[in-house]
């Protein structure tokens, strides 16, 4: 007889950077929590457990995404808490932090409580809300951070909009000391960006698209770092994308500034040349696939040099974590000219596989990669998550490192399909996700690379 | 420059004699003062028209006016991708009330001539239009008939008639060969 709440995941390569485990192990779960992780396999120990054979799999703590747009409430045609959490589960994420740029904006306890309540009903993974920095995200008046913290937010952001008023940013940082939660500013100086729809450079010039220079981000990241240093409070830099930003971040950390930073999977793997629509190939003449609106995102895809520096910085830990900035958009917002396209990439279901290639090419270790998705985000949240430690919620992600698959957005759990990776072949895939001891996602890879 | 299996149907002398005969026939049928405007079709027809004009000058002492016409844009069959450029037409006189003799190298289906006639109508209302060709190879698809013929050459559809001219190809000749 097998008890429904007892699970034994056996024979997989367990990688838990927080607990310093990287070896073939068995993970025992009961009542939705981790019971233990053991090295030796012993048949008798699994009596009464439902056994899941994880031979050949990598077993990781469930991924944690500090930056997701669930679009719910307000833009439910793009995504809902239900579809968004299903997309998260497909991507191996058991915790997502929901950005507050909903309609209404998450700038009061009632809206936050509504999201929390509905996530408990409709969501299949953990949803942690982020509150706004300013009322309505309009950048004029501070949102009630105390009230929002009491309601359960894990940080504050006006994401989508930068806090343009430097004084408001300073005051937001200073006031956040009250609750000890990070301020997460979308760093974009719109005046420097000058209406750019992609990054400034050779590609923008060839395509005749207005280009936003790197400095539109770097200048504001620098401002935020100095303000955080001044106020001695917590700053978290979302979707960092430039060499300049990395440099000021590094020197700020060296000086002891209390700052963490995240990078998206697309900024780690794609670059400005993808706007030609040929998966990174540069054509001799601008072709019919050019102006691929699925590449339009804020901050924009950058140069190869920036990408290389971001990977290095993630490996070294200057950039702390990977966060998806999952931004679903409807077809009407993407089937149009580049200028008209809404910025944002649908990322939850391709995130892990797209960065897994960095392990293959030895740019980053698998352990560090998993750490950037589990241990580190959990420590930024300050919660008991992201580890397979006894008593922690049984959030587990199974990865088949040899699975071969092709990205097909029509099979996404997300309501939207806006990814530039359609048709791209991937190696490595999340094949099962367990949240609080229950399987919330499972798939069978079609093809495995046994070579 | 001729490919291996081309056969010579008319030598240089044959071409020249044919043109002389055509020139006489034109004069015979059209007594003065009805002097014709010779309109050659691009490209070889233009050279043929000039030669006929020279002949007429030797015979009668006056040289008829020679014009050129590219009927490409009036055709009913696709010719865009043939690789040949569109040539400007040039008829340096009004054709209203005049006799016009269209001159071309090879008459085949008749479609080029039909297009040429329609193009000519946009230049004015000729009183009469006649047709002179160096070679008539048969297989007409439209009710077009030449008034002056250099040589009748029965051919099959798989064959290709090639007219070479001194001004362009370095020699005068009419060759027949297989279409590849």
């Amino acid at each position: 007889m097998v008890a429904r709440n007892k699970l034994a995941i056996t024979g997989g390569r367990v990688i838990d950077p927080g607990e310093e485990i990287d070896q073939i192990s068995d993970v025992l779960i009961s009542n939705g929590r981790i019971e233990k992780v053991t090295r030796k396999t012993d048949e008798s120990k699994f009596d009464g457990y439902e056994v899941i054979d994880a031979t050949g799999m990598i077993i990781s703590p469930g991924f944690i995404d500090l930056h997701t747009h669930l679009r719910d409430p307000g833009q439910e045609w793009k995504e809902t808490i239900s579809s968004g959490t299903r997309a998260a589960a497909s991507g191996g994420f058991t915790t997502v932090c929901a950005m507050p740029n909903t309609d209404p904006v998450q700038d009061s306890a009632s809206t936050v409580e509504d999201v929390i309540r509905r996530a408990a009903l409709d969501g299949i993974v953990r949803v942690l809300p982020i509150g706004a920095i300013s009322v309505g995200q309009r950048g004029n008046q501070l949102a009630p951070m105390g009230e929002l913290a009491d309601a359960g937010v894990i940080g504050f952001s006006d994401d989508g909009n930068p806090v343009e008023d430097a004084n408001l940013m300073r005051q937001a940082l200073a006031y956040s000391a009250e609750v000890g939660l990070p301020v997460i500013n979308h760093a974009e100086d719109k005046k420097i960006a000058g209406g750019g729809v992609m990054t400034a450079g050779l590609v923008a010039t060839r395509l005749g698209l207005a280009g936003a220079p790197n400095e539109a981000e770097t200048a504001m990241v620098a401002r935020d770092l100095y303000l955080a240093e001044l106020t001695e409070t917590r700053l978290h830099i979302p979707h960092i994308s430039t060499i300049g930003s990395i440099e000021v971040l590094r020197s700020a950390k060296d000086r002891g500034v209390n700052v963490t930073a995240e990078v998206t999977p697309h900024h780690l793997t794609l670059n400005e040349e993808w706007v030609f629509g040929l998966k990174g190939e540069v054509p001799s003449s601008v072709g019919l696939q050019s102006y691929d609106t699925n590449t339009r995102v804020n901050p924009p895809l950058r140069s190869k040099a920036d990408v290389g520096a971001l990977v290095d910085a993630l490996r070294e830990g200057v950039i702390d974590i990977i966060a998806t900035d999952h931004a679903p958009h409807a077809a009407t917002d993407k089937v149009c000219t580049y200028n008209e396209a809404a910025p944002g990439i649908n990322a939850l279901e391709t995130a892990f596989s797209s960065v897994f290639v960095l392990v293959d090419s030895e740019k980053i270790s698998l352990v560090r990669l998993i750490e950037s998705l589990t241990t580190r985000p959990a420590s930024i949240l300050g919660r008991d998550l992201g580890r397979l430690r006894k008593g922690f919620p049984a959030d587990v992600t199974f990865i088949d490192p040899l699975a071969l698959w092709v990205v097909d957005p029509s099979t996404f759990a997300s309501k939207s399909v806006n990814t530039p990776l359609a048709g791209v072949e991937m190696t490595g895939q999340v094949v099962r996700t367990i949240y609080q001891g229950k399987t919330v996602f499972q798939s069978q890879p079609q093809v495995r690379n046994n070579g | 420059m001729a490919s291996g299996n081309n056969k010579v149907l008319l030598t240089g002398d044959g071409v020249r004699r044919a043109l002389t005969r055509i020139s006489h026939e034109i004069l015979e049928q059209n007594a003065a003062p009805d002097d014709p405007v010779l309109v050659g079709l691009q490209t070889r027809g233009v050279h043929l028209a000039r030669r006929i004009a020279e002949n007429i000058e030797h015979i009668e002492g006056y040289e008829p006016i020679v014009g050129s016409l590219d009927p490409r844009l009036w055709r009913d069959d696709p010719q865009v991708a043939s690789g040949q450029p569109l040539m400007p037409s040039d008829i340096p006189t009004s054709v209203d009330g005049r006799l016009v003799v269209i001159v071309d190298d090879v008459l085949y289906t008749g479609r080029t001539i039909r297009a040429a006639m329609e193009a000519l109508l946009d230049f004015g209302r000729a009183s009469r239009i006649q047709l002179a060709v160096l070679v008539d190879r048969g297989h007409r698809e439209l009710p077009i008939r030449p008034d002056f013929i250099g040589k009748n050459i029965p051919t099959s559809r798989g064959e290709r008639v090639q007219v070479r001219m001194l001004e362009i190809d370095g020699e005068d000749a009419v060759l027949i060969g297989e279409e590849h």
């Binding site: 000058g194 400034a200 450079g201 050779l202 923008a204 010039t205 060839r206 395509l207 005749g208 698209l209 207005a210 280009g211 220079p213 540069v282 001799s284 003449s285 601008v286 072709g287 019919l288 050019s290 102006y291 009407t332 917002d333 149009c336 000219t337 580049y338 200028n339 008209e340 396209a341 | 420059m1 490209t43 070889r44 490409r72 844009l73 009036w74 069959d77 696709p78 010719q79 865009v80 991708a81 043939s82 690789g83 040949q84 450029p85 569109l86 040539m87 400007p88 037409s89 040039d90 090879v106 085949y108 329609e118 946009d122 230049f123 290709r160 090639q162 362009i168 190809d169 370095g170 590849h180």
Partner: protein
Amino acid sequence: MAQQSTASPSYLEQDAIAFQPRRHLLDVDDLSASEISGLLDTAKGMLEITARDVRKTPALRGKTIITMFFENSTRTRVSFEQAGKILGADVINITASASSVSKGESLLNTVKTLQAMQIDALVVRHPHSGAPYFISNHIDASIVNAGDGTHAHPTQSILDLFTVRAHLGNISGKKIAIIGDILYSRVARSDIIAFQKMGAEVVVSCPNTLLPDEWELGSTLALESGFGGLRLVKSVEEAVDGADVVMPLRIQKERQDAGRLPSLREYSVRWGINSQKMALANDAALLLHPGPMNEGVEISSEVAHGAQSVVEEQVRNGVAVRMAVLYTLCAPGNSVPVIRNAGSSEPN
């Protein structure tokens, strides 16, 4: 039945692949030098037709061409309309305002409606770079780009080539000086590419604020820029010195408003083309301008109407060039794209 001619244009001698029927003309970067030559030759034949009493041919009879302009432009629109009509096509004009069109939904829906109407060609001008590329993915018609954002204006560059060739013969080896707002100019981009393809040396002079960020004055651009070989010189005088073609571009007040220029007056003093500057060019040099001209700003009235100015010819040539383009794309036999490979006479 096409017979070999030793007087053939250069492009016939080049490839074993016959002139490749095209579906669209989106930018000159996609055309080979021999295709451009072919278009110029065809335009020459077309020009003669525009000079006749009866300016008409039935070549595109029964074809429907729509001009869809999201930006004001009487000159270019009428030029295309005339080109289509002389060729016997039915030409319908649609003017729309991009700002009154709410987001892409309406552009897409407009295009889908046209698709249902089964038109043959769509001539598009739109303020967003890439719009014609987007449109071509949603409609079967041939698309002719009449100007997209700051990206390209291919027919303008072809008519500029035509005009220069008519006066100076060979374009190869000639020095072309383009003066003005490069950053925002689709004419500049297409002209640079077109003249470079035909072997000319192209030189640019303009304020640093009107160049793409990564272009440095005093340098020559590398191949991967897409404009390889373009020289960016530090003074107008250096650009115009010994030039065979001088092309000042229209400078717009919006640039001053955006803080890129202190004033149009300063621009005119430092970069404006006047008789003094034209004197530095070759004696036989031509003055081209895509129009409309801001006399007194980028060009003096004297030069605009002077002996070297071929601006009016550009307009006339525009119709002939657009006729050549429409004919090449739309004539029967070209309605289905066919790639003929070397060594085979069968269409694929």
